[in-house]
Structure formats: structure tokens, C-alpha cells
Amino acid sequence: MAGAAVLFLVVAAAYASFYIAPEERTMRVLQRIFYFHAASAWAGMTAFSICFVANLLYVWRRQEKWDALGVSCAEVGLAFTTVVLITGPIWAKPAWGIYWTWDARLTSTFVLWLLYISYLLLRTLIEEPDRRALLSALFGIFAFIDVPIVFGAIRWWRTQHPAPVIMGGPDSGLEPTMRAVFFFSVLALHALMVFLIVERYQLEKMRADFEIVRREAEAQ
């Protein structure tokens, strides 16, 4: 049921961004990828933020559920960030003439992606569940703290990404219909994100339960 609702929202957002949003003057149809690209970036950032909070809560409370939530958010956030990193170059090639430029937001998104790949990799290399949960939570905390610093460094010393159109300067902003479609896409992709996290979280719980049963069976 929840899955069907999320599917409806995502399809509606896709329809809105292709048929309801007006055509942008210079970029034409190309600009429509923005509803998907930027909204995925927001959803990915939200997932990583929840991951950070879950990591902190695990270190503090030591409850298994926070570890399960942390890994679920990291994986889902990584999936959304991968979408951002793929849709970006698709847009950039016709718009800027190049697929990739080492600008602040591109590069820091890429570093963010790498950091969470490392986070998941670290988890596969520690056997004991409690230790895995604690150490990966601590690495997650360090990684999340690093993200704004990475962004600051690259922004200061090298910077082609379009200036922010949402919450940017006084001259920035979106045409009202575009704005409505954009926030609808943000809503749809956040719904998808929450849905995926919940599904992944339940899977993690089942895996943990299975592990307990397997150990008991082995002990007998």
C-alpha cells in the first residue's frame, strides 16, 4: 500500500516535471532533469543527516536499532547520491560542454559519496556485530563532520556549478509553477527515500534475527 502510494507520487512528479512545468528559456527541455537531479540531492542529504543522528544515538544508547537505521540511511543516501552523480553529467555535457568539472559542489558530492562507500566497506570488514556497529558509527560521525569542511575547502580554492536558485541571493529564484513542481519532486523523492529506508531497516532487523537463530542452531 505504502509502496503504491510512493510509486504514484514519483510518477506524478515525473509527469509534472515533463508536462506541467513551463519550458526554461535558454536550456529548454534539458532543464527538466533539474527536478530530478536537485530533488535527489536533497533526499540524499536528508538520508545522510538521519544516518549521522542514528550514529550519534548508537554511540550514546548502544541500541541495535540505531545501527540498523544508520546502515539503512547510508545505503539509501548512497543510492540517491549516485543518481545525482549520474544525472549531473547528463545535464552538464549539453549545458556546459563538459561532463565533469572539479567545482565545489560536484567534488564535495563525490567525496561525500566516497566517504559513505568507505563506511559500508568498513562494515563488511568487522565480524563482531557490536564492534562493527560502534566503529562504523564513529567513522560515520567523523565522515559527516568532514563534509562541510571539504565543501569549504573546494569552494574557497576552486570553483562552474550554477549558483543556488533556492535560498540563494536576491536575484535567484524559480518561476512559481517551476517552484511548485520542484517542491513536489522533493516531496516525492523524500517519500521514496523514507519508504526505502523503512524497507531496508526491516531487512536489517530480519538479518540480525536470522543471525541469532543461526548461532543458536550452531551451538546445539
Binding site: 564492534r131 566503529l135 567513522f139 567523523f142 563532520i145 569542511i149 569549504g152
Partner: protein, 224 residues
């Protein structure tokens, strides 16, 4: 105060262990030397080209070397399970980190200063007139590398494939250090050298942020 005196004693132990064998320092120096020589084949190291590319490759060499050099600081303690003894001997586990990161900073700084003349000669970049500024940048960057590296070495020491894991965890985390130190070094080695105060402040902020994080979360890294 107890924290600092504990850390000082432990720092003495770290330095004694290393200077008995000097194996960490010698291997790191040789490693960086190899990287510097190999890099010279990837472009034509004339003075102008060097000014553009050399600062970046110097810092890349230091970063790679540090990801190898920081490895043993916790692995060494595992062989005879001396980490438990260390933990029992100090009241605040942060003292262990403080000692190890101070020792690592010192080792890194020492290798960097040993290799700076080699680098300057081989890549045709005069460094003497800005030496004091370079030392400051080396110090701040090495401190940052050591703070985050010591924390991550404590993590990777408890995992499988630990030798490979530390570079994977550490290198992306050190991106800000690489960007900042490369840019500061570039402006110092310029024909008209200038000091990027902004960059020096940036390195100091990095150090401070990660030192605070280590102070807050360090004890959990050493839990049994």
C-alpha cells in the same frame, strides 16, 4: 594536568619505541623519495612546470606516506596486547591518543623536513626564503593528518584487511588538508611569494574540529 603529564610519559614511550629501531621513519622517507622520483617522469620538471605541479605532488606523496606510516601506531600495541595495559595505566584514554598523535605529528614533520631539500633540488624550486612559512604549513597539516589518522588507525586496527583499509578511510577524509596545503604551498613557491592567511586559518580550524571530535569520541574507539 594529569592528562598532560600522562600524555607526556606515553609520548616518551612512543618516541623510545620508534628511535630504537627507526623502522617507521626510514621506510617512510624511502617511500616518499621513490614517489618524488617517479612523479618527475610524469611531467617535465622545469622550474615553471614545477611551480605549477610540484606542490600538489609533494602533498600527495606526504598523504600516501602518512596513510602507511600511521598504520602501526595501534597495530604495534596488538601484538602483546599492550593496549589493555595502556588503558589501565591512564585515567583518561584521551591521553593515549594525545601521545600517539603528538608522536605521529613529530614523525611526519621530521620526514617532511628531511625530504624538503631533496624536493627543492630535484624540482628546481627555491625554498629557503619561505622556509619558516613552509614549516608552519607542514606543522599544521601534519597535525591534522595525525589527529584524524590516529583516530582512524584505531578503527582500522580492529578490522580485517587493516593495511588496505586505513588509506580507504583516511584519504577521502583528508581532501580538505590536501586542497588547503597544496594551495598555500603553491603561493609560497610562487615567483612573488605570498602567505595565504586564509589557508593557514583553515588548516587550524580543521585541526581544532577533529581534535574536539577525538576528545569527545576517542574513548569509544578503544573500547574492548
Amino acid at each position: 594536568m594529569a592528562l598532560l603529564s600522562n600524555a607526556a610519559v606515553l609520548l616518551g614511550k612512543e618516541l623510545r619505541t620508534e628511535f630504537r629501531s627507526r623502522e617507521l621513519l626510514t621506510t617512510t622517507v624511502v617511500f616518499i623519495l621513490i614517489v618524488i622520483v617517479l612523479f618527475s617522469f610524469t611531467f617535465d620538471p622545469t622550474s615553471d612546470e614545477s611551480r605549477r605541479f610540484a606542490p600538489g605532488l609533494l602533498w600527495l606523496a606526504f598523504l600516501f606516506a602518512s596513510s602507511l606510516m600511521l598504520q602501526p601506531c595501534f597495530l604495534r600495541e596488538q601484538h602483546n596486547d599492550t593496549l589493555s595495559a595502556l588503558r589501565l595505566s591512564v585515567s583518561d584514554p584521551f591521553a593515549i591518543f594525545l601521545a600517539k598523535l603528538a608522536a605521529n605529528t613529530l614523525f611526519l614533520l621530521l620526514t617532511e623536513l628531511l625530504l624538503l631539500p631533496v624536493f627543492a633540488v630535484m624540482y628546481n624550486v627555491p625554498v629557503l626564503h619561505v622556509l619558516h612559512w613552509l614549516v608552519l604549513v607542514f606543522f599544521l597539516a601534519s597535525l591534522g593528518i595525525s589527529i584524524s589518522g590516529t583516530a582512524l588507525a584505531a578503527i582500522s586496527a580492529q578490522a580485517r584487511m587493516r593495511e588496505l583499509l586505513l588509506p580507504l578511510l583516511l584519504l577521502p577524509l583528508l581532501t580538505p588538508i590536501l586542497v588547503a596545503s597544496t594551495e598555500i604551498t603553491k603561493s609560497l613557491l610562487d615567483r612573488a611569494p605570498f602567505v595565504q592567511w586564509k589557508g593557514i586559518g583553515f588548516l587550524a580550524v580543521f585541526d581544532l574540529v577533529f581534535l574536539t571530535a577525538l576528545w569527545l569520541f576517542g574513548e569509544y574507539l578503544l573500547e574492548e
